[in-house]
């Protein structure tokens, strides 16, 4: 059944839905990542490679 479905896959609404889901997920990740007020936190995290620990 699954093979038959794949062999004759021609479901435009489903393809469109998948595309919309993919694009909207991507858009949401983008918006979340670049949302307001998050810069200070990310700036702090981006300094991690510069802090190996205090040398003895």
């Amino acid at each position: 059944m699954a093979k038959l479905w794949l062999a004759h896959f021609n479901d435009v609404p489903l393809t469109l839905a998948a595309f919309i889901i993919f694009m909207s997920t991507f858009g949401m990740v983008l918006l979340w990542t670049f949302r307001k007020n998050s810069k200070p936190y990310y700036d702090k995290i981006s300094e991690l490679p510069l802090k190996d620990g205090d040398s003895l």
Partner: protein, 723 residues
């Protein structure tokens, strides 16, 4: 390991010895990989350098070069960088020292096995996956050991947040495991011989899903992790945009996994899969360039370092090459561009722009950064570092420009037609001879790159020589727990970044979903092959000949895939079909045409032509640059093993009747006698010729393109009965 605890601070002793070991192994294998690369470059320029030696010939050296470059040089470099940066980003020592050393020695043993077996001809005939099944198992085992050690370190880290470099390492470890296991599912015939369970178009699809993503997840994502760690370290300032790195990561790993089919444009692969590969490849432009820009702009405000610091020269040039390669890759994936570039040296130039420029220079920059830190001294000579940079850079430019020019020239010559629709250059060797001068330029470029590397070796040697005699691991004080260092609540992606298992599962899903959706439909061959048995299987002697074809690495220069393009059809015959390679284990569609396509070479020439051609190609094709294969007339066919091979093929669904399976060796001997008699009738009087490998290879060559059944044929299941 962490003994001192004082006011919420603990002492951490980073394991520097393992980093040093991987770094030195990187340098040793870089030398071997580059040296063999230069050797094969000269062999292509001047065929007598193949020396008529079985184990020294291009077809066996080329897999050694690619495996050494990818798994030995780049592999050891990745491990060195990961072991160094992971400990420092997690503020803890590696999870287990024994696992670290098991990983190190296991990986070197794998490389040694490859260095022995590949020149001896033990090969699966799949690019970058040539190693035979026992070595494949060893790779899986030691990769798992590495993974346990890495994830163990993450789980006991003292830093809540997992820095973006570690995300790239996570995706590398997960995806490489998936790629290697799926592509290496094979059926052993003997200790060093196996056949893949995948056949024909399935094997092609899975191999290039693997091959492309080996580039993505072995030569790109770990190096991006290194970039996100070492460039900020080298310039002593944070990455340009951490938020951009988040988008870069998720977009890259999700899109990359789909792009494999761009290696198979215009082939017999179903159109939908080709389109998938092309579209996703073009989409890769965005995340790739986002990452490149992020890396380069990390130097904002300190661009003067580019003039004064050789390490920055290496890093900036590496990232620039990353940008160029990731612009060129999607460009080459566009069908109309692929028409010119595919099977030509342009692809070789593209690949080397990435490996020599991006991977090589990243490793050199990282090595120059790490050596003084690990050995607690200064680099012996800054001017030698600068010399290395300029000589190596000149080498890459010569290499890339010559190969791009050679590829475009040959690609245009292949498709050139006159007003009547006839090929302007019908003789394939004519298009090869035109670009041989550029092969010399490439060899000179490679030699310069090697010279630069030797300068680095001398510089590193002198640096280590003047290092203090006592070398202890790095000791630092770090906060005891993350709670003291982070007080704000964590939600959303921030929280996710702290959850190693959840993060890893999501990263796995990002690559797994694409893989399944892309590969699964092609596993259902019946939707593309309507007849029950449209082609006859290879006869026992043809199977033996095919194995010799694979052993000699013929696929490194010859394709077996006539594309659906007018010039391909005019030159080689009607386009290849899916059904024609349905029993091919492994598929041999190839990726490069230094010689002509062989998909329909069967019955094109008499047996005598093939005999002469294999012993001395110039006796039938003057000016050919193909090596001689004199040992094929001396080596004896292992007839007994043929029975097992046919039996294994039958177990995987190739339709042989019981008589053929039971008497495969006898059937093969009878086939060989027919060919030997034909050669004898034409004046070849070699005693015992019917037992020589060359006869089996001729049988295979004569079968290419001749297996499609015509109306009225029997069911094709009885091979023995026809002899």
């Amino acid at each position: 390991m962490e003994s001192l605890k004082n006011n919420n601070l603990v002492k951490v002793v980073y394991d520097d010895k393992i980093v040093k070991a991987f770094l030195l192994a990187t340098m040793v294998f870089a030398g071997i990989a580059f040296l063999v690369g230069v050797l094969v470059a000269f062999q292509l320029s001047y065929w007598p350098l193949n020396l008529n030696m079985e184990w020294f010939t291009f077809g066996r050296m080329r897999p050694l070069h690619t495996n050494a470059a990818i798994f030995a040089f780049a592999g050891n470099a990745i491990f060195a960088g990961i072991y160094y940066s992971t400990q420092r980003l997690c503020k803890t020592r590696m999870f287990n020292d024994t696992l670290s050393w098991l990983h190190f020695w296991g990986w070197q043993a794998i490389i040694l096995s490859a260095a022995i077996t590949l020149p001896l001809g033990y090969s699966q005939g799949k690019e970058y996956a040539e190693l035979e099944w026992p070595i494949d198992i060893a790779i899986a085992v030691f990769w798992v050991i590495f993974a346990v050690n890495f994830f163990g370190t993450l789980l006991r880290r003292r830093e809540k947040h997992i820095y973006v470099a570690l995300w790239f390492y996570i995706s590398t470890i997960i995806t490489v495991a998936m790629l290697h296991i799926v592509n290496s599912i094979e059926y052993p015939v003997s200790f060093l011989k196996s056949y893949p369970v995948w056949a024909g178009v399935q094997d092609a699809m899975i191999q290039w899903w693997y091959g492309h993503n080996a580039v993505a997840f072995f030569l790109t994502t770990p190096f991006l992790g290194l970039m996100y760690y070492f460039i900020p370290k080298a310039v002593n300032r944070p990455v340009y945009s951490y938020r951009l790195s988040i988008v870069h990561f998720w977009a890259l790993i999700f899109i990359y996994i789909w792009a494999g089919p761009h290696h198979l444009l215009y082939t017999a692969l179903p159109d939908w899969a080709q389109t998938f590969g092309m579209v996703f490849s073009v989409m890769l432009w965005a995340p790739s360039w986002g990452g490149m820009i992020n890396g380069l702009l990390t130097l904002r405000g300190v661009w003067h370092l580019l003039r004064t610091d050789p390490i920055i020269k290496f890093f900036v040039t590496a990232v620039t090459f990353y940008g160029m390669s990731t612009f060129e890759g999607p460009l080459l994936s566009i069908k109309s561009v692929s028409h010119i570039a595919h099977y030509t040296d342009w692809i070789i130039g593209h690949v080397h722009g990435g490996t020599l420029g991006w991977n090589g220079f990243m490793v050199f920059g990282m090595t120059y950064f790490l050596i003084p830190k690990l050995w607690r001294t200064e680099m012996y000579s800054k001017s030698l570092m600068v010399s290395h940079f300029w000589i190596g850079f000149t080498g890459i430019i010569l290499y890339y420009v010559s190969m791009a020019a050679a590829g475009i020239t040959q690609g245009l010559m292949w498709r050139a037609m006159d007003g009547n629709g006839n090929l302007l250059y019908p003789d394939f060797v004519e298009t090869v001879l035109k670009i041989v001068p550029l092969y010399w330029v490439r060899a000179i470029g490679g030699t310069l790159y090697l010279v630069g590397f030797f300068i680095m070796c001398y510089n590193v040697y002198k640096t280590i020589q003047m290092a203090p005699a006592h070398q202890a691991d790095t000791e630092v004080l770090v906060a005891a727990t993350e709670k003291e260092s982070h007080s704000e609540p964590e939600t959303g992606h921030r929280r996710l970044e702290g959850l190693v298992p959840t993060f890893s599962v999501l990263a796995f899903l990002a690559v797994f979903v694409g893989s399944v959706l892309e590969i699964y439909p092609s596993l259902n061959l019946k939707q593309y092959i309507k007849d029950e048995a449209p082609v006859a299987p290879y006869t026992p002697l043809e199977i033996a000949g095919r194995d010799i074809y694979i052993k000699e690495g013929c696929y490194t220069c010859h394709s077996q895939m006539i594309r659906q393009l007018a010039d391909d059809v005019l030159r080689f015959g009607k386009p290849s079909t899916i059904s024609e390679s349905m029993y091919d284990r492994p598929f041999q569609w190839g990726s490069k045409r230094t010689g002509p396509d062989l998909a329909r070479v069967g019955k094109k020439y008499p047996n005598l032509w093939h005999y002469k051609h294999m012993l001395d190609p110039r006796s039938v094709t003057p000016k050919s640059i193909m090596p001689n294969y004199p040992w094929l007339a001396d080596n004896t066919i292992d007839f007994i093993s043929i029975r097992k091979k046919v039996s294994v093929m039958n177990a995987m669904g190739v339709p042989y009747d019981e008589k053929t399976i039971a008497q495969a060796d006898v059937v093969a001997e009878n086939e060989a006698k027919v060919i030997a008699k034909d050669l004898a009738d034409q004046g070849i009087t070699q005693p015992g010729l019917e037992r020589k490998e060359i006869v089996a290879l001729i049988a295979y060559m004569q079968a290419l393109g001749q297996k499609e059944k015509k109306k009225g044929d029997d069911n094709g299941k009885t091979v023995a009965g026809s002899l």
